[in-house]
Symmetry: D2
Subunit: 225 residues, 4 copies
């Protein structure tokens, strides 16, 4: 269940307690009714709940993801408070030497105003220069980090040198309502391309476990209920 993302990252579904039936049953408790299997009425019900923004029935499930991504992606991800995180610690362990170098076609320029950017590719030369510049900074930063750690400086302090392009990893547990909010905001035009690729991977794993809910989400203009 692991999907590779970017040059050294992945999204892996570590475990899940998630199906569409639990949505229908949570809603049906309003009538003190419960089913053992999904039927067409349930599909209709899930669409209704999504449209009418009855969000709580989508909360009775859980997805536990294991993620590896650059720090700047993690920083955006951890803003999603309605969920649980545990992350690699640069206080307790030595930082990995994996850093994000965008593929040439992912190097881009931004056009337009804040809040309404569009992004366009750059020419091959600038793409390559960008990659070289980043690599050079990463190498110098990691070398300095290693020298400091070697010399006995506390890791938590030495890490100040490490760029936000460095990879980190974490567990993330989230229910479908909050996951849809994440996907809605992060697998979207306005989101940064790198986190968008991660959100796309999460969305695929979500759709696999809750296809009816996912279809209703898409039909509802991808807005979380």
């Amino acid at each position: 269940d692991a999907i590779r993302v970017l040059d050294h990252g992945f999204v892996r579904l570590d475990d899940a307690m998630a199906d569409d039936l639990s949505v229908a049953n949570a809603a049906r408790v309003s009538f003190a009714r419960r089913k053992e299997e999904m039927d067409d009425a349930d599909r209709g019900l899930i669409g209704f709940l999504m449209r009418e923004r009855h969000g709580t029935p989508f909360e009775h499930n859980a997805f536990r993801f294991h993620v590896r991504c650059p720090i700047f992606v993690a920083r955006e991800w951890f803003r999603h408070r309605i969920s649980s995180f545990n992350e690699f610690s640069m206080r307790y362990a030595k930082a990995s030497d994996d850093f994000y170098v965008p593929a040439p076609e992912d190097v881009r320029t931004q056009v337009g105003k804040p809040g309404a950017y569009t992004f366009e590719p750059v020419d091959a030369e600038l793409a390559e220069r960008t990659r070289a510049e980043l690599r050079a900074v990463y190498d110098a930063a990691y070398a300095a980090y290693e020298r400091l750690v070697e010399a006995g400086v506390a890791r938590e302090l030495a890490r100040a040198a490490l760029p936000v392009g460095a990879y980190t990893e974490f567990f993330w547990t989230v229910n479908a309502r909050a996951l849809m909010n994440f996907i809605s905001l992060r697998n979207a035009e306005a989101a940064q391309r790198e986190i968008r690729l991660y959100a796309t991977a999460c969305e695929a794993l979500f759709a696999r476990h809750m296809p009816v809910t996912h279809a209703a989400f898409v039909a509802n203009e991808r807005r979380a209920p």
Copy 2:
């Protein structure tokens, strides 16, 4: 997995994604390490996390309970915001005619000051009188409710007559950290006896799925991390 509680209630574990290993693995991600099976080091680690109040590793799991209890118990329960609820609706469906009548030995008197009550049994006569008084109110209230609904009054309005001793039911999904907070506060001296019986049932189901975590919780004076 259903445990009967009070005269017409129950706690049933509808589903769970919960084991002790996930706690250890969530903590071990700090070191980018992961295991497939619990060992003694993990048991020690879980004790350490509990003692030092590292609470987030206890969040990567989920318990989905199906509960039936009197409204006054539900009102206390729903105060626990870090969790998800869906409840029977007295707007959409006709109220059940089950009401809570305490067993004679559960009728009690309160002694002492607010915040420091103790409760003592009452004599058999008062116990029986209490049960009779409650039954009489319940019968009158439910009869009035039925007459109003029969006459066409909206259920959401007619229900105003129904006592908080009426039974309701709901789904409740919660992770182990918030569940321990619930158990800590509700399976405790200061809690009302009725909700305490429910919390005891939840605790038994919790202990079955996460025995090491539960033992560490108990060892930690039953305080959630």
Copy 3:
């Protein structure tokens, strides 16, 4: 700042730290900019944030309400987890003898299917009968409650007799983002008339303190960002 609602209820704004400027400043920290006074650009910015569902800038404020309402209204209200409550305790104190009796024009019948009800007035006779039925239950229930408390039965148990039409009171502290979610759901067609009247009162107090935000909310089809 108190607004009377229903026969014995109110909404009172106990305190607030809330203005539109804080929304603009929270958003402008993205650019490390801050202002001392609102101007037209800020009004445009607030509209943009609302439309684009940038919700966090609406969280840097707080409204503390003091509310008195029937229990069945409070039960709906307390479902809003992203906020803080402290409520009157029927364990620690004696219940009030105020109960909700709808005004004759508020007695209604429900038409249609769950999730799509409409409500229509009932004739004068049924309205009066409803009021009489409710009053009779309330009187009987409260008399039984008093007898039990008098006889020494613990208040927490005696209250089982009290109908959900009984009044309770509480403090409620909430930020504008969660408040808009509340208003969006509760001052709406689909909401029960009684809570809707309370939500209307909250909305008026909200609009007074954050007029630009409120206008943007209304312009955005009354959906919280």
Copy 4:
């Protein structure tokens, strides 16, 4: 109300709706009582609430902080989900060129095992070398960042080069219960020295507005209720 922290940082209280009286009044609503001024009984009550972990009365207030700190401090801070953040955006604006260089006496070595580190000063030479290494990385990284931005590379991508020692700024709004949780964990032995200095500043501002609550918190072994 600004307190300088580290070489380029600060904590400033932007606004607050916070006093001890609101704690007492929130608790007293249990008895439908309210006061206009604090007295000795209230002080006792606040101590009782803290000891008995009645946490909700501490939530009816709000502190809005404006903070400037290194990214690695912000990363720890943003883990506190029960609060609201808005931060400087390196997608929308150009990164500042302020970076954290520890004062010589703040350079340290770590001794012992993860979870039980102690930190000790390093000799003057290593302290100076650490500062020089960090400065060199910062300069190289910022120069590369500027070259890339200059060449048209999107800021959101160019920032991958920037070390977590770079300064960021944000607004943070939080109530006293969650603030005490933050202070309890972050102004503590086990916390990293840099965030600890910030938490100390927050604690001073908290104590100024809610002295009775703060004293009770300290008396309660600095554990949040």
